[in-house]
Symmetry: C3
Subunit: 356 residues, 3 copies
Amino acid sequence: MSAETGRAAAASSVTPTPSTAAEVPAVDAPPSSQPVGWHHRHLLDVDALTRADLDLVMGTTDAMREVLARPIPKVPALRGTNVTILFYEASTRTRVSFEVAAKNLSCDVVNIAAASSSVSKGESLVDTVRTIEALGADMLVMRHGVSGAPYLAAEVFGGSVLNGGDGWHAHPSQALLDLYTLRSRLPGGSLEGRKVVILGDVLHSRVARSNIWTLTAMGADLWLCAPSTLLRGFEAWARRGAAGRRFTVTSDIDAALAGADVVMALRIQKERMASGLLPSLREYAARYGLTRERLLAAKPDVIVMHPGPMNEGVEIAADVAVDPRSVITAQVSNGVAVRMALLYLLAGTHGRETGA
Amino acid sequence: MSAETGRAAAASSVTPTPSTAAEVPAVDAPPSSQPVGWHHRHLLDVDALTRADLDLVMGTTDAMREVLARPIPKVPALRGTNVTILFYEASTRTRVSFEVAAKNLSCDVVNIAAASSSVSKGESLVDTVRTIEALGADMLVMRHGVSGAPYLAAEVFGGSVLNGGDGWHAHPSQALLDLYTLRSRLPGGSLEGRKVVILGDVLHSRVARSNIWTLTAMGADLWLCAPSTLLRGFEAWARRGAAGRRFTVTSDIDAALAGADVVMALRIQKERMASGLLPSLREYAARYGLTRERLLAAKPDVIVMHPGPMNEGVEIAADVAVDPRSVITAQVSNGVAVRMALLYLLAGTHGRETGA
Amino acid sequence: MSAETGRAAAASSVTPTPSTAAEVPAVDAPPSSQPVGWHHRHLLDVDALTRADLDLVMGTTDAMREVLARPIPKVPALRGTNVTILFYEASTRTRVSFEVAAKNLSCDVVNIAAASSSVSKGESLVDTVRTIEALGADMLVMRHGVSGAPYLAAEVFGGSVLNGGDGWHAHPSQALLDLYTLRSRLPGGSLEGRKVVILGDVLHSRVARSNIWTLTAMGADLWLCAPSTLLRGFEAWARRGAAGRRFTVTSDIDAALAGADVVMALRIQKERMASGLLPSLREYAARYGLTRERLLAAKPDVIVMHPGPMNEGVEIAADVAVDPRSVITAQVSNGVAVRMALLYLLAGTHGRETGA
């Protein structure tokens, strides 16, 4: 597999909407008290979002960051809104990020860890979701090991479903916080033509799948880099491509990192070893681990990202993780602001007629 | 065992109290600010409740449903009240229902899942309850695998104990939400003379035991229907009966369903198979599963209930669960209102001299 | 080992600071709105606290007890402050005590039980702490099985770290609530010259280690009593001593209890049996269990303490636990007030330049 495999056509066909098109709501007040130009009841994946939608999320996130900078980082905007967080997989950062975001908007939050609830008694997902709605939930944040589970939930849930990660499929709030972080850090705030490398276990990564969509939509020159066993299917995706999106798939880390503006390392899940998809962790680290030495090939002001949790010394060296060029901590804190924006915008669709 | 086994005398001896007797409190205000005609400090089972008590719970639940219909479904009535939810068994709906109910009344809520707490270190229940009180709990909602555990807790706890389910013994808030749901749905709001069938694993069901009490107290013509291995002891109970209560025990599902006004299916716990009390699930479903075909024997406007979580295709067919005659979702949402009423009424006894 | 082994010199060198030196803040108002004479950003152990610090904690706890006695036991002092409780070990009383304390100060609380979070995916403690800070935590309460873990956390956390127990090392909030309880109960409120016996598994006890520090600092005549296998290393500590601290180590329970003003029994962890450090529980109970009979050797108004959870019938007899001389329940309720004081005082250092 060469560095050029699957290279899609060069020019981006996405016409940037002027950012004035997306008028940012006054986030101290409830969304119901003002016109908000948002029409998606659920957030299941990023692929349904238009450029104007993305701009509105980004602008609303700016407003939420202003809230977070206050001595008391809270607004009463969603008081009385019940947010239920139903996680079928272990999580710290995504679960807590949504919880803090919801509380900052004055929501009431209910946590359900499926493993320790009666969900373990074998109730179907559909019945669980109907029950959660009947218990008063207005918004349901869910993580599930099966790709597509949140779509099923959205079919029966009367409020808003926010996908907190489903199988290998999608992790839309992560892609949006990554986008927000990049726009904040890149000179000019634009991804247009920037070389962005996603490095690591793309195959099992919902983070990668959602990021592929948003990054190429914003005009980035996207590269996926991993051992070929972890890139299966992506070559075809890249060749097929969306019209005008730049998308390269390679196992050649030198080609990938050369002149990169951004490198996002992905978590290697140790259980992949057993499946034969990967040699030893040591070998993986030697060939694909993101080290300071390897970063010399990238632009001097390259931006280093990681969705966490990190295996330091495997997919990323400990010194790279805390390098001044790393924005890993900013990703986490922007995550709270992005999720506040998402909860706010989605809540605005309740009681209005909208599609999913 | 024939359909007539254990049939108790026909006429109900319960004289309905005029509902004006139970004056509903103004639930926006704290119970301490007004006279509330409620005298039970704890809710351990329904058998201590008089007809006037039941009417007061129903009326207060009406008021709570009005609160739930508001844009912000909350009242400040119990601000500063600490509700601790101590569950020794897994649960979603009951635990979350109490949590949402308490938050809607502006309580502070503490969750303790006993399995993952130091309760697992072998501390006695009595010490755990004393500790929870010393930590500031005003109200203790508990679920425990051992019948009677909440009675032990109530002996040492200075506030109110609410039984969220104890062993096979009782599940009083479930019986009260079932009663509320039936009164809302039955023409005239009365159970008097209505044929109510509880179908399924009665033997292991605290839901059945608590419902038997309230339903017969309200004058229903109650039938229990299950394989005879799951009815042990109930025949004697029915024969002994309470004076004037109608109570039939049978394994004949056709006799049970004939002309029924209400059918409540109970969850089959799969672990019962191992104990030899039941043949295969497939056989159980074939003989006692609630299907549309079987429902033809009931009244055309029969009401279908289930306490959840359901094993669809076993004790209840999937299409019956979502049939327009099913009130399963209403049971869940009424559960929040009933628990708000219970927390409110019980909190009103604090600082007043009352019995348990 | 004789009763006199390791007896340190008699006179206390600690000069009591007049309690007026520690001016108690007005706890209804935020600490940022007034001068507060507290300079420790973290609470990692009690050994860094001066006599004036201890007096300020005690005085602030008095103020918090006054808050707890109100009909609504809450103050808005720390509204908008995010307290994250990260526990790597099971706990009820310490975890809930901090949670209730934080909510009484109007903090937002996030619970993370490490076992069920992605912390289990192998993320390093340092990365977890950085993530928690980026998620918005102002204060981090943590319990960890490894001694020293909170010190590592404090090196990277921008807010305040409160040690909720680390390995065998320290449990500072427990020692402070024990101190507060003793000052409330001892005539004159002084520990000066009082014989205080810590009885039981000292070796594995972080409670003992933190209490040794505060009790001797306040001038108590401290005795540790246990089978010699559970006293390893403490003899040397006692001999070495701090100048002027009274500190006796013995296996002779009769010598220890003779004339005692205070006896604090420690929990025997049953897993110690396997390690060979202890004979059977029955033998331990017979030789070192705190019974009414044994208490006859102590002062008539001896104060009985236990940090909980108790193994009744092992290290303490059930009737002793509920004896009028037992302050075990008072320890738990004082714990909430002490932790309110600690959260309040530590929060006051944010935004000011202070050392750890």
